[in-house]
């Protein structure tokens, strides 16, 4: 064999670090850019309030950037933490950790840009309640960061997993699948949560007295949008901690990799879709607060139907892991 194990592990960890930081910066960059764009729009409407607008823009950008800082932490760990290498599984685990954090930061960075941008416009509309708008924006952006935190948890677990006594052949694919499952599923959830947060900030700016109701329905909508990421986390945990018997076949690892990809891609769509539903529901609760009861019910029904595809993906993943 031309490469020894140490070389392959080094390639995987440096490659994983590059992918992690590269992908992880995409979402934060777009989110921060969106915030900056709306802040410019707000400045052109009311140049004399530039201090308050820039202040809120900085707060929002600092929060949107934290997804990229998570990716930075994982990338630095991948580069400088050289774990003791005993078998090839370490390479797969480190590469998977990089992929997981890289993909996982995209949605959160982009999503938390929406409330951060809307708050700049909202302050121009309602300067009197700027503190309240900032609070609402911070809550919305913080919930958007949850999928990135899930991805970071899975990445850290993959890095510090004890792989010494595991079978190499199917487990390499299981670890890769575990990374991809949470990483990809987090994209949709982060983005969807951001849509709901953004419309809640602009809704409160329109009708400040609906603050409580709008914040509540935003949190409900965002919580439902997080479900695909939680499904992804579940599949990742199963893939990481189930013991797979050693085999020489190529079908078994492909089934496990397929399970990870299935849940990962399958989580993107429902996450974004739930976000769309929550966005409209939050927007119209702010405009028509008497209909908040029926709007909440319809939102939950709509989200539940949209969630069903994520459930199909989870079922197929579980079949791939446990049945075949």
């Amino acid at each position: 064999m031309p490469f020894d194990i140490q070389t392959i592990v080094s390639i995987a960890s440096y490659g994983g670090a590059g992918v992690c930081m590269g992908l992880g910066a995409i979402g934060a960059a777009m989110g921060v850019g969106y915030t900056g764009g709306l802040a410019n729009q707000a400045l052109s409407q009311k140049p004399e309030a530039s201090g308050t607008i820039v202040k809120n823009m900085l707060i929002g950008q600092a929060i949107a950037e934290s997804a990229a800082i998570f990716a930075l932490v994982i990338a630095v760990l991948l580069i400088y933490l050289s774990p003791p290498v005993t078998n090839l599984l370490t390479a797969s685990a480190l590469g998977a950790a990089g992929l997981c954090m890289g993909f996982g930061a995209i949605g959160s960075g982009l999503g938390s840009g929406f409330p951060a941008g809307e708050v700049c416009l909202a302050i121009v509309r309602q300067p009197a309640i700027s503190g309240r708008l900032t609070t609402n924006m911070l809550i919305g952006s913080a919930v958007c960061q949850t999928p990135a935190i899930f991805a970071m948890v899975v990445a850290l677990m993959l890095m510090f997993l004890d792989v010494n006594n595991l079978s190499v052949n199917p487990t390499w694919a299981a670890l890769l699948g575990a990374g991809l499952s949470t990483g990809l599923a987090a994209i949709g959830s982060g983005f969807g949560g951001g849509l709901a947060g953004g419309s809640s900030v602009s809704g409160i700016a329109r009708q400040p007295e609906t603050f409580g109701k709008v914040t509540t329905i935003m949190l409900v909508g965002q919580a439902v949008s997080q479900t695909p990421a939680i499904f992804g986390l579940l599949i990742s945990f199963i893939l990481m901690f189930k013991i797979f018997p050693e085999t020489t076949s190529i079908a078994a690892p492909m089934a496990l990799l397929g399970a990870g990809l299935c849940m990962g891609f399958g989580g993107i769509g429902p996450g974004v879709g739930n976000g769309f539903t929550a966005q409209s529901a939050v927007k119209w609760v702010a405009r028509n607060v008497e209909a908040s009861g029926i709007l909440t019910r319809v939102m939950l029904v709509g989200q539940a139907v949209s969630q069903s595809t994520a459930i199909y993906a989870m079922v197929v993943s579980l079949v791939l892991i446990f049945v075949v």
């Binding site: 201090g51 820039v54 609070t135 913080a142």
Partner: protein, 131 residues
């Protein structure tokens, strides 16, 4: 000058956030020192220091870029992002390389600005009222 006033306001706000980030991290560090956890205390202060520097540069970069030509603004924006991430990577590398800094504490420390902002807007202001 109106713009100068506005710029002053943003600077004051940044200064306040950085001041509280450093104060809270130093306070936490003293608590850990009291329990003889020197590595954790040093890690938190190191992380919070660089978090504050990053946040300070973030605001300064905006006013440096304002009013430049498009190509120059693009280049400067890219450079400022690169510089800020390199600055943030420094405490992480130090935390990993030297055993006298606790790595987990450094990671908590580099989120000091975000944590202070949250606590300020979600816990302090609703209970004490707007300042």
């Amino acid at each position: 000058m109106e713009t100068a006033n506005q710029k002053e306001e943003v600077s004051r706000f940044q200064g306040r956030v950085c001041f509280w980030a450093m104060t809270c991290s130093l306070g936490l560090a003293f608590i850990f020192l009291f329990f003889h956890e020197k590595a954790i205390a040093k890690g938190i202060v190191l992380g919070a220091c660089f978090s504050s520097i990053n946040f300070f540069l973030m605001g300064k970069a905006i006013y440096m870029i304002l009013g430049r030509s498009r190509a120059k603004a693009n280049a400067m924006g890219f450079m400022s992002i690169l510089l800020r991430y390199l600055i943030l990577a420094v405490p992480l590398v130090v935390g990993l390389k030297y055993a006298s800094f606790n790595f987990v504490a450094v990671v908590v420390g580099i989120f000091a600005v975000q944590i202070v902002t949250f606590v300020d807007h979600i816990i302090v202001r609703p209970t004490l009222g707007e300042r």
